[in-house]
Symmetry: C2
Subunit: 343 residues, 2 copies
Amino acid sequence: MLDDRKVRVLRAIVEDYVLTAEPVGSRTIARKYNLGVSPATIRNEMADLEEMGYLEQPHTSAGRIPSDLGYRYYVDRLMPEQTLSAEVVESIHQALEQKTREIQDLIQYAVRVLSDATNYLALVLGPQLSAARFHRMSALPLDAGSALLILVTDVGFVETALINKPVDMTDDDLQGLFEYLSRRLRGLSLETCAHEATTILNSELSAYRSVMEEALSLLRATTEDEGEERVYASGTARLFEQPEFRDVDKAKAILGMVEHDQTLRDVINSLVNEETVLVSIGGETGVREIRDCSLVGTMFSIGGRAAGKLAVLGPKRMDYAKVTAVVRCVQSRLSSALRKGAG
Amino acid sequence: MLDDRKVRVLRAIVEDYVLTAEPVGSRTIARKYNLGVSPATIRNEMADLEEMGYLEQPHTSAGRIPSDLGYRYYVDRLMPEQTLSAEVVESIHQALEQKTREIQDLIQYAVRVLSDATNYLALVLGPQLSAARFHRMSALPLDAGSALLILVTDVGFVETALINKPVDMTDDDLQGLFEYLSRRLRGLSLETCAHEATTILNSELSAYRSVMEEALSLLRATTEDEGEERVYASGTARLFEQPEFRDVDKAKAILGMVEHDQTLRDVINSLVNEETVLVSIGGETGVREIRDCSLVGTMFSIGGRAAGKLAVLGPKRMDYAKVTAVVRCVQSRLSSALRKGAG
DNA sequence: TCTTAGCACTCTCATAGTGGGAGTGCTAAC
DNA sequence: GTTAGCACTCCCACTATGAGAGTGCTAAGA
């Protein structure tokens, strides 16, 4: 266990390093954070902390920087509960109180404000469609030979596809078909739907095979898509403002990962699985490209239903207190967004 | 006018510089491109070309690099018509012959393959919604108090919004209302629609004011949105592979511009306004952030209707012949995509 | 036993000097 | 008009060099 003074030294080092991005020396601590002891004493404490794994030394005669473990200790036990400035809260509210009624748009505003408020890279994962439930499906005739197929999930997420319409099928037939299907499938998970629809197709609706096939393929595409949850990102350019990413190769690695959605989904999904705000520090993510980064994320719901996950990716040396607070704030505003609008 | 030998020197310099990213010296040209004259003669030609504005010298005793004007001359008059390798053509075909029936998805595949095939940053602008024509609008009742409003444009672009549904309105009423509206508005530009719908609302349909207001606001949002055309990008990370963007600040400036959609829209829109492939070189774009880049772009249509613009952003020192060919290839495949599917 | 001052030591970083290499422009001869 | 020769310029990579920051250790003091 860390005694009181070690804790104060650790906190000082984390906070100073977060602020300056420079390794912190014993003199600096003695001067700026008045612990009432001399640099020599602090040096001893730092040597202890290093041995215990909380600190690292870039090279023999540099100051110390926090290790992953050091950050972890700070985040779990030392980090102050931060209340956001009125302006930040205000800007978040404003961004999410737009009059938009479309979830996709709302998410896009959210990811942007998340990045603006933290100055880091913000990421949002759309709803996990495989877990979504069928709400309804409908076909909108466009012209003689084609129609727009529309799938709505319980969260209000919309997927559409252009399909061929058999010429011998009237608009009423089409509408009736999907009315019927919608009644039969409502509330089922999309995966179950695909099975169920196949059964229905074979048993009773074989007359409408071609249209049904298209409907099935939309259902399957929606669930099985490698791109299961859509990924929204904002603020990639901001990464470069961090001194630790001025190294082009690091920056490139991170960018590459962000563009390669699947890795991103995996990382965020494995970290975030509840509505509390969680932090993954450096190597904890297990992904090589972002071993110098931390990820702060949580799930969010819109109008009371689980809608996705939001996360901020920044350098390990990030302002965890602030980022956590911002993430929490955006999360809570999203939950209540649209509520008065539509369910 | 440039005499034959000057032209050959210019071509050699452009092509060598594109290949190596190093200023090209007279010796190199004499050795690699057998013009049958000595370095000294080439030096004289280069001095002339520099005076005429086609070449630049990074510093007194370096080789020459092409100026914007030099590239321009090359692109306009020297660039060979390149036929793409079978593999590249194949990969483009494959990417765009996916079974998807949704325009948005198709565009996403297109932007990805555009970047993969060129190794530069690829950009696609979605259809210009203000120029789009109304095809139909429809409302899908979701539950007692809400419905999904769907707007389809002639190109097959879909916009949706969640709206409140007056409790006293039956599903049939709702459907009838939009059937009627769709008949009245079909073929009009979205802007005209907004006006027209207002008139209709005031003259005949004032009973449905609340729903109509929502429909109007969707129409307006679709046209007036600052984000008029949606911007799709792919391959940002690839920018860093270019030696000229290993300078973090340059890379950041470009990335920043890419994230700031509006500038991007403006640049692409001002360059590209026809179905031929156009090239904008360096300063020609007039945008500071990309003065070291060139943009190759064109309009494309899907299923015979103008659908958007596609562009590749790379360093000035890019392989213009190849990029032009790729852009043209993607453009042509897009035009014929979906054609057999739905119109 | 804990704390502290002192000091030698290490390591980085910015600076300046140096030499090689690449390329030029000019001149004079072909 | 072309070419060889040559002096000149400029960049760049390499190597000191020294200042600065910070450490660990030791020994003395509380």
